[in-house]
């Protein structure tokens, strides 16, 4: 169908191929029908949108007409293609449990869920806020707000000595940076908040950190660069399921992120380092969690390999994702044009690795549900007490008022 040129047989596993398509006019170089079939087979492994048919159609149209519009559309579709997949997870259909940590929490009676505990102890306000702060907004009150900051500080105290440099990042980003990280900013049911000025709100500081390196060429000796940022994350996604009620899936939350830019030989090792750091963080807190190696259909578009960490949430009676780390190889670097010069002078795309050190709301759920006590209090994990002024327990909070709202107060307009 297409007049192709001879390519590397295993081109799909050759990232230069996709780069080639992204940078140059694909028609000029041609793509064979077999190549398209392999691309399709490969895209089918992922849950992400399969746009191969669209690419086929565009390539066919471009054979007969030189249209800039069609060519731009093709570039856009090619950018949406997923990353390649690590050979050791190619065969996986389901997440593979690698290891489980800490003991399973046992309770003498039915454990309560986060919402019940937090409301009973007056630690949260979620009711009647939609008309004032938007859908699914929340206020953390007293000890819960302090615990939030305790978790952030604890995470930074663990990861900063490991060579992660702290960065203050922008939360408002241009759409092209977000797209460059493999997230779409247009279309229906989009997860990205947009502002009237044309800019977007960042969904994770990984986007801003990757954006920092846009169009840069680094030297191989500088790599790996390990960064961390604490930022607000904005996500337009919603959920109506019972399991995800309350603050499990919210539109805004704080997250401590780990991020690295490295050479192609370093990313596999760094992913292991990120994974081990996450294990250390959660193991010390004492929550029960498991480490999962994720199958291709759970990787999203940018990840080549991804580990998820799920914690047991006893009040909800289910495993909830609290963290993950991904090796994105050169997927983001290609889209953001981030390169490095090897010692021999060759210019290559860098690799990027990211991981969640602390996503506050879900960690709070896990901690409150795990460490709840029968007498209506929550035991603070020992490693967090120094950030809570030495407190050992969270008890019912009396300093802040109970929720009591008025409907209206009549004004005398005479």
């Amino acid at each position: 169908m297409f007049r192709g040129i001879t390519r590397h047989k295993n081109f799909l596993l050759n990232r230069r191929f996709v780069h080639h398509l992204l940078k140059d006019d694909p028609i000029k170089h041609g793509i064979t029908s077999e190549e398209m079939d392999t691309l399709e087979k490969y895209a089918n492994l992922r849950k992400s949108v399969n746009n191969i048919q669209e690419i086929r159609n565009l390539l066919e149209k471009l054979q007969f007409t030189k249209s800039k519009e069609l060519s731009d559309q093709l570039q856009k579709e090619l950018r949406r293609l997923p990353n390649k997949t690590h050979p050791s997870v190619m065969h996986l259909q389901e997440p593979k449990v690698i290891e489980t940590f800490n003991k399973f929490p046992e309770f003498s009676s039915n454990p309560e869920d986060f919402d019940e505990i937090a409301k009973k102890l007056n630690l949260i306000r979620t009711n009647h806020l939609g008309n004032f702060c938007g859908h699914k907004s929340y206020y953390f009150l007293g000890a819960l707000a302090q615990l939030e900051h305790g978790l952030i500080r604890y995470a930074l105290d663990i990861i900063r000595p490991k060579g992660f440099k702290l960065v203050t990042v922008p939360d408002i980003l241009p759409p092209e940076v977000i797209q460059g990280c493999g997230m779409q900013t247009d279309g229906e049911r989009n997860q990205v908040y947009k502002l009237e000025n044309g800019l977007c709100l960042s969904g994770t500081s990984e986007m801003a950190l990757a954006g920092f390196f846009k169009d840069k060429i680094l030297e191989e000796e500088e790599l790996p660069i390990k960064l961390t940022a604490t930022s607000r994350c904005f996500r337009a996604e919603t959920s109506g399921t019972h399991d995800e009620k309350g603050i499990y899936r919210v539109h805004q939350f704080t997250k401590v992120e780990m991020f690295s830019i490295c050479s192609e030989n370093q990313s596999d090792e760094l992913l292991e380092e990120f994974k081990n750091t996450e294990i250390e963080l959660f193991k010390n807190i004492g929550i029960h969690f498991k480490l999962l190696d994720m199958p291709p259909n759970e990787l999203g578009a940018p990840a080549y390999r991804k580990y998820d960490i799920e914690s047991w949430m006893p009040g909800r009676n289910f495993w909830g994702e609290i963290s993950s780390c991904s090796n994105c190889t050169d997927y983001q670097a290609q889209r953001l044009n981030i390169k490095y010069r090897t010692k021999s002078g060759e210019v290559k795309y860098v690799h990027s690795v990211n991981g969640t050190a602390c996503a506050v709301p879900r960690l709070l759920i896990s901690i409150l549900e795990t460490f709840q006590k029968a007498k209506g209090s929550v035991e603070i994990p020992e490693v967090l007490r120094k950030y809570m002024r030495g407190q050992e327990k969270i008890k019912r909070q009396k300093q802040l008022p109970e929720l009591k709202l008025v409907k209206n107060i009549h004004s005398d307009l005479k």
């Binding site: 206020y139 500080r153 960065v167 000025n197």
Partner: protein, 444 residues
């Protein structure tokens, strides 16, 4: 049906950029829901009109108070007329009920029914005429500023209430030349390594200090609906608007959880017992306020890290004590940095609409040769509470909570000031080379 509703909301949404979301008359309420009806305290203004006229004059306000007065008189005349018609309607209704009970003559009942019918029509017509008049007047009324504190300097000069150290006229260091400051534009800048660490560590130092002094930590929401930013007296352009799937009359704005406005969602319509006072809160987070100045690097950036406090109190006699307490806390924290700063009560013309008194915490930049505000604590009295119905009951009477609050410290600005005073990184400030080289130096 749904499409028609969306269309209506869309039309209103375009219009709503100009209209008040805070106060909606009955006619607008057909299409748009107003989550709150502010308490309109006419007496606070119209019992001493001269005081308000003087207040506006001192603030250099563009509000024409005579015009507001005229609107009030016009509204008041019709409002009284409406009330008398309503009273008459109620009387007829009562009389009809009693006649029907006593089996009076049909003729008498018919006459009354006819009279009642006519009254309903008259009342309906009067209401329709009154809506735009009421809306016009109340919108003007809600633009009137807070009453002034007697501590507020009424002349053109600020009053220094605390001063630490002396201002330096050199070195002439621009924070933008610092290798740890990577400024792209007002929306986007990065602080790296030790500057980022200072920003975070000092924020936590402030946060801890306030918690130690009895403030309850809270984490606020980042989005605030227009009804609350309007209640706070914020100009619509102060914050960016968020695009929503279905445009809302009461649209969302990005304020950030480190803004004063972000506290208000918690207090809207909240009714408390007086025993909770003083209710002292501290929060920490980002603010996304659109800068008023341009080309001043991080000083004119949209995003900043802030520690905020809000103290709600019952009685005006506590006001000075609370203000002193907050400012003492701030002063002690800043003194530890060893750089010059001053706390001043701003002259009345520099106050914002809701402020009755404003203490501005300022630090000097030798490079820009001017002071920048790194904190701002204001007394709002019960001005905001009346608008968002934050109330308490004492015996049977309803009162509104007083508020003193604002930015304890804007740590993003503070870090830049310290750089410009040679106080951060032991005064080691390098000239900016090309970005990659600078970057290399930092992370090697």
């Amino acid at each position: 049906m749904i499409t028609r509703k969306i269309e209506t909301v869309r039309k209103i949404s375009q219009f709503s950029r100009k209209m008040s979301v805070l106060y909606m008359t009955g006619d607008k309420a057909k299409d748009a829901y107003s989550p709150i009806s502010p308490y309109i305290d006419l007496k606070s203004v119209f019992t001493d009109e001269k005081k308000m006229a003087q207040n506006l004059k001192s603030r250099n306000s563009t509000i024409n108070f005579s015009e507001t007065m005229e609107k009030y008189q016009k509204f008041n005349k019709m409002f009284v007329e409406k009330q008398s018609l309503e009273k008459l309607r109620d009387e007829i209704s009562l009389e009809l009920k009693s006649l029907q009970k006593t089996n009076s003559s049909d003729t008498k009942i018919d006459v009354l029914k006819e009279k009642g019918k006519q009254l309903r029509i008259d009342l309906h017509n009067l209401k329709e005429t009154l809506y735009p008049i009421e809306s016009d007047f109340i919108e003007h009324f809600l633009e009137l500023p807070n009453e002034l504190s007697n501590q507020c300097p009424t002349n053109e000069h600020e009053r220094v209430v605390f001063r630490f150290g002396d201002k330096l006229d050199s070195p002439k260091i621009n924070h933008l030349d610092h290798p740890s400051v990577n400024f792209n534009n007002k929306f986007s800048y990065y602080l790296l390594d030790d500057v980022a660490a200072f920003e975070m560590d000092f924020s936590y130092q402030c946060f801890d200090k306030f918690v130690e002094n009895g403030y309850s930590p809270v984490t606020n929401a980042d989005f605030t609906k227009r009804v609350l930013t309007e209640a706070f007296g914020s100009d619509q352009a102060k914050y960016e608007n968020i695009i929503e799937d279905v445009p809302q009359v009461n649209f969302l704005q990005l304020t950030g959880c480190g803004s004063m406005e972000s506290f208000l969602g918690y207090f809207a319509k909240l009714s408390v017992f007086p025993s909770v006072f003083p209710l002292k809160l501290v929060s920490m987070g980002k603010s996304y306020e659109t800068p008023k100045t341009e080309n001043e690097g991080v000083f004119s950036a949209q995003q900043s890290n802030r520690v905020q406090e809000l103290t709600c109190y019952e009685n005006s006699r506590d006001r000075d004590l609370i203000m002193d307490d907050v400012l003492n806390n701030v002063a002690n924290l800043l003194k530890s940095l060893g750089a010059h700063f001053k706390i001043v009560y701003l002259p009345v013309r520099e106050l914002q609409q809701a402020e009755s008194l404003c203490a501005s915490i300022q630090m000097y930049s030798p490079y820009y040769e001017k002071y920048f505000e790194v904190g701002r604590i204001s007394d709002y009295k019960d001005y905001i509470s009346k608008r968002i119905l934050f109330n308490f009951k004492d015996k049977k009477d309803i009162y509104f909570g007083n508020m003193i609050g604002g930015t304890v410290v804007n740590t993003s600005r503070l870090a830049m000031i310290l750089i410009e005073n040679g106080k951060l990184l032991d005064g080691v400030v390098k000239k900016k080379e090309d970005s990659i080289k600078t970057f290399k130096n930092l992370f090697l």
